[in-house]
């Protein structure tokens, strides 16, 4: 034991900066990127980006995603994924809108309904995954179509607008001299989420399930039940987001909230929660939400087209997953630098394949120009 301890001590004394940094990566990563965005904008567009009204817009945008990012942290920690949250938010928003506008329900009843119905949709997702054994990716993608379809059936092309004060307060109200109400709601959900993660069976078992599902099963944890709980929480928080979105815009329609799923997943993943399960960082998810809102607002401020946002979300997911995986790789012996690893036989074959594809595209473009006829407008 003593020799073992001394070797361990020797190892820890010689720890590299990477190992020292690792426990804090989740929070350092997004903060560094936030700092980069702020620095970039301070040079390029300081006047418009750092206006108080713009910061308010950024916070309001972030608040919308906070409850969902909290819940998604649990889902992803369990090695799950939920792609249906955008449609759940839209459908619950529309059901709430109909309850208020068509049937004259009081606003507080309708809000409660939205949360419960969102939770029910989450329950359906969870049961599809655990009982029908449909892989979560496909299961929630299919349910996304189902929920979106119901939203379209219910609302047709209608835009339901003008809601009672309670709804708009939830979406964009402000306690004077303090934070906007949605930001407050978002922060509260994160505080509750952090406590649940550390201090309850659900949080502990979420990590255990994501860490090693077989071990969790062997120690007597009801793996499927806790998975269902995570999806119910996810659904309820998507329902809350539906209410917040409706209140923020004071309007809702069937096609609202199209890219919620990727945006929320990007925020959680960039915050250091591992898609491979077992690593949960609540604070990282919050930082991730802020980062994405800052980034998208920067794109808007720079007058870059709205559609680039989806490109940005996707790139953020790929980059952060790739980066975290690379940083967590322990064994770097035998890798002789980038050039050497690129010239392995496997990679050379992939290069050839890529070259063939690019050559093919280029030659087709050339052929296209050679045999081009006069164009007609597509309209």
């Amino acid at each position: 034991m003593s020799t073992q301890e001394s070797t361990l001590a020797a190892v820890s004394a010689g720890r590299s900066w990477q190992e020292r940094l690792e426990p804090y990566l989740a929070i350092v990563g997004p903060l560094a990127m936030i700092a980069m965005i702020l620095a970039f904008m301070a040079v390029v567009e300081p006047a418009r980006y750092f206006r108080l009204s713009n910061l308010n817009i950024i916070l309001l945008e972030a608040a919308l995603y906070m409850p969902m990012a909290m819940a998604m942290t649990f889902v992803i920690t369990q090695r799950g994924i939920d792609l249906s949250i955008g449609s759940v938010a839209a459908l619950t928003g529309i059901i709430m809108a109909f309850a208020i506008k068509q049937y004259g329900f009081p606003a507080w009843v309708a809000v409660g309904m939205a949360l419960m119905i969102g939770g029910t949709f989450g329950l359906i997702n969870g049961l599809v995954i655990t009982r029908f054994k449909v892989p979560d990716l496909i299961g929630t993608l299919a349910m996304d179509l189902v929920y979106r379809g119901f939203a379209l059936v219910l609302a047709k092309g209608l835009v339901l607008a003008r809601f009672p004060d309670l709804i708009t307060d939830i979406g964009r109200g402000r306690i004077s001299g303090f934070l906007p109400i949605p930001v407050l709601i978002g922060l509260i959900t994160f505080i509750v989420g952090a406590i649940v993660l550390r201090k309850t069976w659900f949080g502990r078992y979420s990590i255990a399930i994501g860490s090693n599902p077989e071990s969790a099963e062997m120690t007597g944890i009801a793996v499927d039940r806790y998975k269902v709980y995570a999806y119910v929480l996810m659904g309820a928080m998507a329902g809350l987001a539906g209410v917040m979105l409706t209140g923020k815009l004071n309007a809702i329609q069937a096609t609202s909230a199209p890219y919620f799923n990727l945006h929320v997943i990007a925020a959680v993943v960039v915050g250091g929660t591992s898609l491979f399960g077992g690593r949960a960082y609540m604070l990282g998810s919050l930082a991730g939400v802020l980062l994405l809102s800052l980034m998208i607002n920067a794109l808007v401020t720079l007058r870059i087209e709205f559609f680039w946002q989806s490109v940005a979300s996707g790139v953020v997911i790929i980059l952060s997953v790739g980066l975290y995986t690379w940083l967590q790789k322990k064994d770097r012996d035998g890798s002789k630098g980038v050039l050497a690893s690129l010239s392995t036989p496997d990679n050379r074959k992939l290069f050839k394949l890529a070259a063939v594809l690019i050559l093919g595209i280029v030659s087709l473009i050339v052929l296209g120009f050679v045999f081009a006829t006069t164009t007609t407008g597509s309209g």
């Binding site: 301890e5 201090k199 255990a208 860490s211 090693n212 071990s215 690593r279």
Partner: protein, 263 residues
Amino acid sequence: MNAVSAPEDLAVPVIRMRGISKHFGGVTALENVDLDAYAGRVLAIVGDNGAGKSTLIKILTGVHQPSSGTITIDDESLVLDNHSDAIALGIDAVYQTLALADHLDPAANMFLGSELTRRFFGIPFLDNRKMRKEAERVLDERLGVKLRSMNVAAESLSGGQRQAIAIARAVYHSDLRVLVMDEPTAALGPQETARTLKLIKVLREEGLAIILISHSLDDVFEVADQVQVMRRGRRVGVVNTADSSSQEVLGMIVGAGAEGETS
């Protein structure tokens, strides 16, 4: 090795399995197998792959149910419908995979599935501080293991330390009577193996009945009091390690010395 008394001289075995058979469809995994485990004794079960060792202990731990045969604990007959039944009766197992969650710290792993809680306003919350204290106490007092840090994830611990946590999880239940260990040293180096064998001896001194499944006859002869040899789903013999040798046991495993068949 200290002197081992023959099983006939001892009091009643804690666990007595009689005439256990198990069929999986048309395949006979076990046929008319007996097993006796005594308090404060280590019983090793050895045999080739497919000899029925794992099936036998899975029946004992309630994971499988026998096709026929009886199990008694302290002469009271048992029906084990699942693993939790066995744990409630004081029979637990440490699996080869250890069933640890790599991303959780040692205390969280030790209490995984049976966390200690504290109530605030009637709502149970995990009592992480108490679990950490208890984990440290159990590891130190019962297993003589001190970890450098209780804050690290289980994945950063050595094989022997992980083993200790898995054992601590089983022995924490104060009413544990029988501990089954499935290949505890299979993935360990020499130093870690020695430590694990020492742990087994500590537990034996505490009066647990230990059933050890192992492929390593060296380990078996180091810690076990008796060896039960299995071949093709049958018990081909039980020998005391004190008056046997690994050559004899090896012969029984491969079926060379036919005179060794006593069952």
